[in-house]
Amino acid sequence: MGSNTTEKALSMLRFLPRVCLSNIRPHPNSRIRDKRGRGQHGGDKHGCGNKGSGQRQNYMRLGYETGNNPFYLRFPHEPYYQRHHLRREYPPVSLLQLLKFIELNRIDHTKPIDLVSVVNTGLYKLLPDQRQYGIQLTDEGADVFNLKINIEVQYATEVVIAAIEKAGGVITTAYYDQHSLQCMLNTKKFFERGVPIPKRMMPPPDAIEYYSDPAKRGYLADPDKISEERLVLAQKYGYSLPEIEKDPSYDMLTERKDPRQIFYGLHPGWVVNLRDKAILKPQDEELLKYYAN
């Protein structure tokens, strides 16, 4: 491949002299020779015309429109919508709605809940094309929330985290990039494409700090520090922290996805065949290396 030529180049470089001004030249045709025209077509007025500011080289400034308000001054700078096309949105789901979903058997609370479970109820719509990146859990219904659940959302405030932990549950905030979101929104359609499950990408630079913060229960945060933060929140909001390690469903509550995983129980790189009820796994070394990266 390219390794041969690079090796050859590097071996040549060992014997060539050091780069200095005398042995480099500019890119061909990058410098235009400023030559004053001579002869019938290039001579006489040398392209400057007759009289006026043009021949006298006394030009008007760039943008000047001979007195009227120039285009570059007509419109003042009003940066109200600066970067609006880059801002992420998180359509909300309240704790009350979540409670209703669970009590009406739309979501199974004995299994870990994530974006896929909420979207599969059919009552929550997420549009990644409109820069919507996931679920935001709001605090309406925090006073009546009493179910032990393991939930993974994309954003949650302190009050919401306190309400869920008070009931004995576990909440995690995780990031899914747009490509992963498209796979999660209609999982049946995605599997029917016969494409390997992609790996989830890391959050963008302005979100990494949020998802590595134990106080926000980020999926990239240290679980030991999260345990400490649980006590801090319990002390702040005035409830005794339930001991989850003594809970019979401790394994279900602490079930977590790997940062590169999109679906529970499915690894990136696998191809799910729904018709034959089979999973195809990659065998090639390079593919395995790529998906384990």
């Binding site: 309400a163 679980p223 129980g265």
Partner: protein
């Protein structure tokens, strides 16, 4: 197509249903490679000890507090009439295990206006519309009152005390002098008693 088949030769015909949520996948950025020294398990930490240089760490055992909810006052229509957002927290200072004894006497003295005959100190809050936030506010009030007892006020040095005394005396002298001049002005407006 054949390339694809070559790469995906291993086929599993039946998915194991007993381990539906297996965590066997580990990428390069999994938690055990990000935090190698961590236990990676969620646990309930014990309360921090009250002894040592921190007389009060801020830890309050919530079970020992008596919390009651009631309806708040003020405007708000049907919502304020129905929702129990006001929080009242009370506890007995003498039997509180989480406050040091030297702090207890200071608390009893400093907050005697909040203490009942039986020795229960009461903290109330209805500042927000949410019960949880009001409870948090009550706890914050408790913590700040205990911390204010921990802080020892420094007495001023002899020089500073002397300075303050001289300032106070000068201010008193000026005030009385001003009073005397005003009084003289007022009496000058009256007709004199003896008409000579």
């Amino acid at each position: 197509m054949s390339n694809l088949c070559k790469n995906f030769t291993k086929i599993i015909t039946q998915v194991a249903t007993n381990r539906l949520y297996s965590s066997s996948y580990k990428s390069a950025i999994s938690l055990d490679s990000l935090y190698p020294t961590s236990s990676l398990k969620l646990a309930t930490p014990k309360k921090p000890p009250n002894e040592g240089q921190d007389k009060f760490t801020g830890y309050i055992p919530i079970e020992e507090l008596d919390i009651t909810y009631s309806r708040s006052s003020g405007p708000g229509g049907q919502n304020v009439n129905k929702v129990n957002t006001k929080v009242e927290v009370r506890f007995n200072i003498s039997s509180a295990s989480w406050i040091n004894d030297d702090l207890k006497s200071k608390l009893l003295e400093k907050y005697k206006n909040k203490i009942t005959k039986e020795g229960f100190i009461i903290f109330r809050s209805d500042v927000t519309r949410s019960q949880h936030l009001n409870l948090a506010d009550c706890l914050e009030k408790i913590r700040s009152s205990v911390r204010s007892c921990v802080v020892v006020e420094q007495e001023p040095s002899d020089e500073t005390a002397e300075k303050l005394r001289r300032r106070f005396e000068r201010a008193t002298r000026e005030r009385l002098a001003l009073k005397r001049t005003r009084s003289q002005v007022k009496s000058n407006r009256q007709t004199p008693l003896v008409n000579l």
